[in-house]
Symmetry: C2
Subunit: 136 residues, 2 copies
DNA sequence: GCATTTGACTTTATTAATGAAAGGAGTTAA
DNA sequence: TTAACTCCTTTCATTAATAAAGTCAAATGC
């Protein structure tokens, strides 16, 4: 179903999703229309879920990038889930996990002060373990 | 420097980075050329770091998505770093962290068997704690 | 206070890409 | 052998991108 050419298309689009079909075609040795129908198929199949940009969060004023392992005291997760719904601006991802904790929360903050405020509020709904990202 | 219109542009492109400049312009109430120069500036400033796609890893045969907290025994991280360089196909991100562990490794695997093999090999270079993602 | 500069935009015109349609080559199956 | 199918290329009409020129308003300087 998905052949090598498709994999190369996915690779190229991962690196630059704004390539024209002509440029993309050149990279995988196909014409524009040929690669265009392949991309359309990958979209229909749901292999390509969407097109996005990588934003430099530091340049937007988010200097702290953190992962927070969430340990809810009770089996009732709703208060925590409601809380993070209200804190959307700081949340990148909230993964439900098995292992150490219930959730793994990826977030960004403008400063340690705001992170601190966030943690204080979070602590009313769950316990946590904090990991701050130093480098990628 | 970055005004409200720029934020809206970033938002729109985050949701769909393949919008034409004309379409994008319509969404933020500008003409194509106007929005095009704004996007070019955001690129020059490094706010937009790149254009990418969201790939459905399950449809590519990667059924297991995991975060692995890495605890290296020694201060000498090189063996671990060399190891993951060889395992690129499974690695999504390797974050250097402060907190619980030295690194937080985000990865994907076709099956638990392959994850198991990976962990066995990993164990020669570092200790770990495994968190498997159940849901986003 | 007025002229000038600057920056951000629109309009226009040229160039380039997209997308639809037709046609060809290779493969499979009756 | 022929028919049907898939995947591709070529061609062409439509649409978008891009460069250049012009407009306007706000800021700057004399």
């Amino acid at each position: 179903m998905i052949d090598n050419t498709d994999m190369r298309i996915l690779n190229e689009l991962s690196m630059n999703s704004r390539l024209t079909m002509k440029e993309l075609g050149k990279k995988v040795h196909l014409t524009g229309p040929a690669v265009s129908t392949r991309v359309a198929k990958l979209e229909e199949q749901g292999v390509i879920e969407g097109y996005s940009i990588k934003v430099n969060q530091v340049k937007l004023g988010y200097f702290v990038h953190a992962f927070i392992t969430i340990i809810t005291e009770s089996t009732y997760h709703q208060p925590y889930l409601s809380f993070i719904k209200m804190q959307k601006q700081y949340i990148i991802n909230n993964y439900k996990i098995s292992g150490d904790g219930c959730y793994l929360l990826e977030c960004k903050f403008p400063s340690n002060e705001i992170l601190n405020d966030f943690l204080n509020d979070l602590n009313e709904h769950a316990n946590y373990k904090l990991s701050i990202i130093i480098d990628i």
